[in-house]
Subunit: 184 residues, 2 copies
């Protein structure tokens, strides 16, 4: 079974007007996606941000849960947050390669991706015995800006319900996509 | 296809020590679950809280998005938040019955439910032409306290990944369960 990685992208992402911006790291993105990652057997969750101050903020939140008061508060939260590495994308890919022994296939996710591969196909690919490692990219803000698509090896199809509305939060979308790829 | 309702329960829920408590309404629970509800064709999202002050807080958050500055900020958010009714459980069941024309089947969800029905079975039940309305209950805090199970007609099986850890956030769990029941 493939070693599965998750990366949460804060730049380049778009705002509601389609402008390219850098989004802020939020505490709940760390917690919620770490808990989903842990539930679905993700090996590491990379929080990717270009600004050192923002990475330091995330580091302080994590330190609270890993060594401070929070450590005793809830061991299941700590177990999830232990998956997090705060870094940039290049270093995340290197770290994943070091952990898994091969460069990960980088997979773009978006509510607006056209021509992405389907979930059954991706799931089967992850379950092959000789499966390559996979890193799923999730965008904050209003989704990743187009240059991120060029960094990826392939794109996943959007998550759809019965209608056309598919404006999920990244916290829900990450959980749903992990469940489609690894749920029982 | 069944009329599907969601209710987010703030009392009685448990804290990390298993004590029965009332949890606070949080803004992100409103937003994230409303967006998932809208994506999966949910008819109404009931935010269930016993304390009037808390219901007023939720009402003010909603008013901001429905009539104030937020209305123009992002119409997709407003479209999701329009699904919300802040109420208590009895009134939520009455409101669902008035909307759907029949009393909803009340379905308990929990990471620790044993003997709950599976997702394929529940999905098939929702898709029947003569399907009865269904209301999914989601617990905040560390999950609903046992008395809530007695209010429900049946329980859904827990969401599982490949391992034993299943400490998902309610925001992720609600998205995943809606996707399993209504995703395409």
């Amino acid at each position: 079974m493939a070693a599965l990685f998750v990366a949460l992208i804060h730049y380049p992402v778009t705002d509601r007007n389609g402008r390219v911006v850098t989004s802020a790291i939020t505490s709940l993105d760390l917690h919620d996606i770490a808990r989903s990652a842990r539930t679905y057997g993700v090996v590491a969750y990379f929080v990717v941000h270009p600004v050192p101050d923002q990475r330091e903020f995330a580091g302080r939140v994590l330190e609270h849960w890993q060594t401070g008061y929070g450590r005793n508060f809830d061991s299941r939260r700590r177990e999830a947050l232990d998956l997090i590495q705060v870094t940039n994308l290049d270093e995340a890919i290197v770290a994943a390669e070091q952990i898994a022994g091969a460069r990960p296939l980088v997979v773009y996710t978006s509510a607006r991706a056209s021509g992405g591969i389907g979930y059954a196909e991706m799931r089967a690919r992850l379950e092959r015995e000789d499966a390559e490692p996979v890193m799923l990219l999730f965008g904050t803000g209003f989704g990743m800006a187009p240059p991120m698509l060029e960094r990826a090896d392939l794109a996943l199809a959007p998550v759809l319900g019965p209608g056309e509305y598919n404006h999920l939060s990244v916290r829900a979308a990450a959980g749903i996509i992990l469940d489609r790829l690894r749920g029982h």
